[in-house]
Assembly symmetry: C2
Homo-oligomer: 340 residues x 2
DNA sequence: TTGTATGCGTTATCAT
DNA sequence: ATGATAACGCATACAA
């Protein structure tokens, strides 16, 4: 239907614009990047020529020539999961009017996967990196160091970030929820999380749980600590196993929103009163947890803020507004609802 | 902590590798891109030199020189919403081992926003574009045509795609659900969707609803057709307004999973039997709908498949395996559950 | 204010 | 099988 006969379009270059405007390519370059550096009539002629030939600058060439880059690379463990949507959205919002573009990939919960992506992103000459994971292969660390690109780690607050960090403490958040449950009167508190093997967030949350239980002089019984695969069904299975087990807990703390929701739905199906039969608490405040019956007590994490602030500190460094290697703790909130 | 004294790292170039291996840069280039074109000993020396200097190729320079690109641009209306997560994941999975990178941005439900992003992506010299929206500004269409980049539109099946299309028919899906509800015995069917003004999917679903009602000889009463903002709360509000209105429906079809879930939770709160007092049907099968009580009847859409297949047809064209301008209908399924 | 020469790091092309 | 040379499209540095 288009009249290009199926062939590849032939995009115009700066030279074409220059000819049409009766100036040199260099003047076109200036007129486009800093109009104030060019006389008014020339500026107008260039603008007109740009429109006339439908000129779209080639940023590859521009970036190569200027030794700069307008691309930010973001690596998350997983894209299927909606968990990172708010973070990505936050990054995207900050980048939108900055002239920077966002390159995204998922590393699949493996350090090797992440390393491959870091290589690819560095090859792409990204101006900065945002990494959700906080554990990396030595090779990845070495590459990043050599390349000298600014990096923000966002998954959890670590004592020794690669470069910068913007996050919250998974350890402290988990600990805080346990203390909260204790204040509410719960004593036999169970903990359900995803596997900690390949996930530093889960690991930190487990540690936080143990820390709190220790502080309270309570037992962190192995029978009451479960690791489950992701998904609503896992939450359902976990709550059944715990409540019907020998050492039934009075509260179950799920280190994941989806797990908690799955557990609640299972309780609804079985007619188990929440929190009468068992109290439920979650980690991460997705909208759903507020609307289910009963609404679920949870931790509100700064997901979108991490994206926004992360992108901001990265741009600050890239654009030379700051040399600092900041570490930002965006904190968390406990949202007490009717499930506890 | 790193010993680079805070300075930008100085990455090695092909020339450095070449010197170390005692060959010309051109030989290094060949050794890296097509090892079979180089002698065995040279290949080994190059590999060793690459490792020794920690060489990471500069794909910007490579792309510029070869007039090719290894970047795919994806524009979705929204990133906050988890709706597009499976699609993005599908694209990402196909691209993972292809050597292509994914650039993502959100256009914010506006054609102007999309146009700006298309410009930015073309400036970035993307090899192909995936657009979720199927309506575009004339300027955007013209730019794409001139650039000659392959494009896949994924939001809904349209009669005249820009280039290629991989999707399902929102119209047919909505129609099918209405016919399904009718077969189940429902006659007063209400329809709740997002605003159709800036969303071609919503518009198609509304049309599908009207088509079906017409075919059934039923009234598509304006009182029973609501447009709501997104969110669980909207679904709750909608179901209350409808059920407590003068013309209470026996079934409400929500053109959105979140709206339907919000409605169900509201029914739970009010003790309204579902489907006794009112039946609920949804559009889009998120995991949650299967686990709530009662599970909600819905349409299963090929979200991930759209991402996968879309990326595949794009790569086929980019890599010259196909010249065809395919249009792929991935269909949909009705999932009958207990809410209807 | 504008233009000229040169280079960014790689690959295409043509030689050897 | 390997190398020399010339682009790719633009921006830096300097000259006019």
């Amino acid at each position: 239907m288009p009249d290009d006969a199926g062939g590849r379009g032939t995009s115009s270059r700066m030279r074409d614009v220059a000819q049409r405007a009766g100036v040199s390519p260099m003047t076109v370059s200036r007129a486009l990047r800093d109009p104030s550096k060019v006389s008014e009539p020339v500026r107008r002629r260039v603008e007109e020529a740009v429109r006339a030939v439908g000129y779209v600058p080639n940023r590859l060439a521009g970036n190569l020539s200027s030794m700069r880059s307008n691309v930010i690379g973001l690596i998350v463990p997983n894209l299927d999961n909606s968990l990172y949507a708010p973070t990505i959205q936050g990054v995207s919002a900050v980048l939108r009017d900055s002239g920077f573009q966002l390159m995204i990939a998922d590393g699949g919960y493996s350090m090797e996967g992440e390393e491959a992506l870091i290589t690819a992103f560095l090859a792409q000459q990204v101006a900065g990196l945002m990494l959700h994971d906080t554990r990396h292969t030595p090779a990845a660390v070495e590459m990043i160091r050599r390349a000298g690109v600014p990096v923000v780690e966002t998954g959890t607050l670590v004592p020794d970030p690669l470069d910068m960090a913007v996050s919250y403490s998974n350890h402290d958040a988990a600990r805080a929820m346990v203390l909260h449950l204790h204040r509410l009167g719960y004593r036999r508190i169970a903990f359900v999380s995803l596997s900690a093997t390949h996930n530093d967030r889960s690991r930190d949350r487990q540690r936080g749980f143990r820390t709190a239980m220790g502080e309270l002089g309570l037992q962190a019984e192995p029978r009451l600590m479960l690791e489950m695969p992701p998904g609503l069904a896992s939450g359902a299975e976990a709550v059944v196993r715990l409540v019907q087990g020998e050492a039934a807990p009075d509260a179950v703390f799920f280190a994941g929103d989806v797990l908690a929701a799955g557990a609640l739905f299972e309780c609804q199906r079985r007619g188990w009163a929440v929190p009468g039969r068992v109290a439920l608490a979650a980690f991460d405040d997705i909208d759903m947890l507020r609307h289910v019956v009963p609404p679920i007590t949870t931790l509100r994490l700064p997901r979108a803020g991490i994206g926004r602030r992360g992108a901001e500190v990265l741009l600050d460094r890239i654009q030379g507004r700051s040399q600092e290697r900041v570490v930002v703790d965006l904190g968390f909130e406990i949202i007490q609802r009717e499930s506890t």
